[in-house]
């Protein structure tokens, strides 16, 4: 029986229990525990910037099942720690992206999805398009126009690895800073046009 082997539907209970014991007995540092916990609760915020959102929606649909990575799109930026830039960011949207990013609690991460988020893609010379990496710091880039849902799932797994290998969340708990990068500040005020 599955239960006898310590396996229930969510994974191996024995391994999980051993890990919990290690944490409690102090064998695992608190920072590592934070890394481990953060990497399996990457909740992206509901901010769709462009048309890659159709593939993002498909990623969390039943066929590709993004929730198996512990990731669930959530409505409020205050309760999320991941932002997925889904495609082009226009000048008007850049303001919204920055505001949403600043609302999210640290440690927080960003995935840029699609060719437009890399370097403009098809709209490389459009007068209304900005590069998301000039607005917020990006951790993982996904190429493709649009990327397939598999690549989005892969990006989430890569981000989990990155967090645990580089201790991004744990370092933040210890020092208050992300160890790998300086915080990105937009060169110009992206919201300068707003109401004035």
């Amino acid at each position: 029986m599955a239960a006898e082997e310590g396996k229930v539907y969510v994974g191996n209970v024995d391994v999980a229990a051993r890990r919990a014991r290690d944490i409690l007995l102090g064998k695992l540092k608190l920072e590592d525990a934070v890394d481990w916990a953060t990497s399996f609760s990457l909740w992206p915020v509901h901010l769709t910037t462009s048309c890659c959102s159709t593939e993002f929606a498909a990623t969390f649909g039943p066929r590709f099942d993004g929730e198996q990575f512990g990731s669930l799109p959530w409505v409020s930026p205050r309760q999320t720690n991941l932002i997925v830039i889904e495609g082009t960011v226009t000048r008007k949207m850049a303001c919204a992206v920055r505001i949403t990013w600043e609302q999210m609690p640290s440690p927080k991460f960003a995935i840029a999805m699609g060719a437009c988020a890399l370097d403009g893609g098809l709209f490389y010379n459009s007068y209304n398009v900005v590069r998301p990496w000039e607005v917020i710091p990006i951790d993982i880039y996904i190429p493709g126009c649009p990327p397939r849902p598999e690549s989005v799932a892969r990006a989430i797994v890569e981000l989990q690895r990155k967090i645990r290998r580089k201790h991004l969340a744990g370092e933040w708990v210890r020092t208050g800073w992300r160890p790998d990068r300086e915080p990105v500040k937009p060169k110009e005020d992206v919201c300068s046009w707003w109401r004035g």
Binding site: R91, Y124, N125, Y127, N128, V130, K187, S192, W193
Partner: protein, 171 residues
């Protein structure tokens, strides 16, 4: 079938325009026809067309002709309920001088469906619609709308794809 409808629609529109004594010139496209009228009589012509059954604006199409030094604004209209002309597109339009802020009467009072499209023409071409209830940019942020992006003298560079575009460089 579509050609029959277009000729019916054209006939009906011409009758409507003649009945109020508006002089017009006809410009034909591949599958539509446009009536160019004087700016002063545009509102009368629009009302006559609306009474003739063309109740919905499908597009407010503006085109910039720097060589002729004009901006052409055409209201492409159709009927959504009248079976005789349903599906035929006719246009009523004007030629405006190509100056910084050309002005023409707003037809939002005649066709409500033109409300947002006139705002679009305003931001992309700088055409000011007199009597529009809420004339402000629709899609663009205000500093960008000042540059009138769809005019032909706003040039978008086709550059090498390996060359980055600076953030602050607009056009």
């Amino acid at each position: 079938m579509a050609a029959d409808k277009l000729s019916t629609a054209r006939q009906r529109a011409e009758e409507a325009l003649k009945s109020i004594g508006v002089s017009y010139s006809v410009e034909e496209g591949a599958n539509f026809v446009e009536f160019i009228v004087d700016v002063a009589r545009l509102k009368d012509a629009a009302l006559a067309l609306k009474n003739a059954g063309f109740g919905t604006v499908v597009s407010v199409t503006a085109t910039d002709y720097p060589k002729k030094n004009t901006i052409k604004v055409v209201y492409h209209v159709t009927s959504m309920i009248d079976d005789e002309v349903k599906g035929a597109i006719i246009g009523v339009g004007v030629y405006l001088p190509r100056i910084d802020k050309p002005s023409m009467p707003s037809l939002t009072g005649v066709w409500l469906s033109a409300e947002f499209m006139e705002r679009e023409v305003f931001e992309f071409f700088g055409v000011e619609f007199e009597g529009h209830p809420d004339l402000k940019p629709l899609l663009l942020i205000p500093p960008l709308a000042e540059k009138r992006p769809l005019r032909k003298d706003f040039v978008v560079r086709e550059e090498n794809i390996y060359e980055g575009v600076p953030f602050s460089n607009v056009g």
